[in-house]
């Protein structure tokens, strides 16, 4: 059964590479949840996350031709998503370092109550209060599972810097969630 699903995705990918928008839409539907989750947790802002998600898929469409493999499309895609978020950061004025949960956050949280347990809801909200550097590394390391070397490369910092931000993030989150 899983083999069939994989083959279907491989077919979708080659069709999309040939310009088939219908196939690309299917790819979008399969992966938009993950991409949006990544953007949302990194950006802590629904509107920004929606814009970035769209940017990601436009970039994926443009870069489809350079994807030549079969089995790691999703990791290629999610990595591209992180890169899009990071690039976007560099071209924007940075927001203030200490953010408080916005109105949006509360609406978002209550709207998604069904999907979260109490514990994870708190964590989502707490994440938003982190300064962006610490939040980035926490999301990429503890939530998404990237390694420090990969995070350092994606964010343009050192591996040591990545570790420091992670420790800071965990410490802050512990405080906030006490």
């Amino acid at each position: 059964m899983p083999e069939v699903a994989v083959r279907t995705e491989a077919t979708l990918i080659s069709s999309a590479q040939r310009g088939d928008r219908g196939a690309f839409e299917q790819i979008y539907r399969l992966h938009v949840g993950r991409v949006y989750a990544i953007c949302l947790r990194l950006e802590a802002d629904e509107r920004r996350a929606e814009e970035l998600t769209q940017d990601v898929f436009v970039r994926v469409w443009n870069k489809m031709g350079s994807f030549r493999g079969k089995s790691q499309f999703s990791s290629w895609l999610y990595r591209l998503a992180v890169n899009v978020v990071m690039e976007d950061r560099r071209t924007r004025v940075r927001r203030s370092r200490n953010e408080t949960p916005s109105e949006d956050a509360v609406t978002y949280a209550s709207g998604h109550v069904g999907r979260h347990t109490d514990a994870s809801l708190d964590l989502e909200l707490a994440l938003r209060t982190l300064p962006s550097g610490a939040r980035d590394v926490f999301v990429l390391y503890d939530v998404e599972g990237y390694k420090h070397e990969e995070i350092a490369a994606m964010m343009g910092i050192t591996t040591g810097g990545s570790k420091a931000q992670l420790h800071r993030a965990r410490k802050l989150l512990r405080e906030v969630l006490k």
């Binding site: 590479q17 040939r18 310009g19 928008r21 690309f24 839409e25 979008y28 539907r29 938009v32 949840g33 993950r34 949006y36 989750a37 949302l40 947790r41 629904e46 996350a49 929606e50 998600t53 769209q54 898929f57 436009v58 469409w61 443009n62 870069k63 489809m64 031709g65 350079s66 030549r68 709207g111 998604h112 999907r115 979260h116 347990t117 514990a119 994870s120 964590l123 989502e124 926490f138 503890d142 939530v143 599972g145 570790k163 992670l166 420790h167 965990r170 989150l173 512990r174 969630l177």
Partner: protein, 228 residues
């Protein structure tokens, strides 16, 4: 171990980054110290919560229409290796000379492909879009060759001749593989692995032809084509 040291190193301990000696010291301290154990547990709990966050979150509205509107038409698959810039060195005459002989191969190969491509489609177990991609390479090569061949530099070029040889030889190797698979299919016609192999070899041949086309700077707006 002092408490401050422990607290600082708990993260590294949890991430598996301490040396065996340091881990052993940490273990020893943790056995004896309930406060640090509690801290460790709290950190573990946090990491568990992080891992358990929902992997995907659906956006509040359908983002597809916004995306669809921004997608440029792509009837051509070009590797993203080349950005469309007007100053590509492929526009230099000497580079074109190198490339020109390569184009001639493509044309001659395409010429020899057409007779049996029909045969292949009917014997493969899946309808693959071989015909349409061949047609694309065909059109692309026509366009490229019209421009290149008019400026063909007959002084010759070692790089061009070597590339020529390599490509001819390797397309021949792939053709040999394709022939082997097809004769194997005759003795074992329902063998799906053979059919998959056949499709892979066609794809590879296609990729090879397309890579060469890419190298020739076959972008639709390279500025080499005055008209479509």
């Amino acid at each position: 171990m002092k408490h401050d040291d422990v607290l600082n190193k708990l993260n590294e301990y949890l991430d598996g980054e301490l040396s065996p000696a340091e881990s052993a010291r940490m273990n020893a301290h943790l056995e004896a110290c309930p406060d640090c154990r509690a801290e460790l547990e709290a950190l573990r709990e946090l990491m568990r919560k992080a891992r358990d966050l929902p992997a995907s979150v659906q956006p509040g509205r359908d983002l597809w229409p916004g995306i669809a509107a921004r997608l440029e038409d792509r009837s051509v698959v070009t590797g993203d290796f080349r950005r469309k810039r007007t100053f590509s060195f492929w526009h230099n005459r000497s580079a074109l000379a190198a490339a020109a002989t390569v184009v001639l191969i493509i044309l001659s190969v395409l010429g020899s492909l057409r007779p049996w491509e029909q045969e292949v489609i009917s014997s493969a177990t899946e309808q693959i879009t071989v015909i349409s991609t061949f047609a694309h390479i065909d059109r692309a090569s026509d366009r490229v060759s019209r421009n290149i061949l008019t400026r063909f530099d007959r002084h010759g070029n070692v790089a061009a001749m070597e590339a020529n040889d390599v490509l001819t030889r390797n397309i021949g190797i792939i053709d040999g593989a394709i022939a082997d698979i097809r004769s194997a299919l005759q003795t074992d016609p329902t063998n799906t692995r053979l059919a998959q192999m056949l499709r892979s070899e066609y794809q590879r041949k296609m990729d090879l032809l397309r890579t060469v086309a890419d190298l020739l700077g076959d972008d639709t707006d390279t500025g080499m084509n005055p008209t479509t």
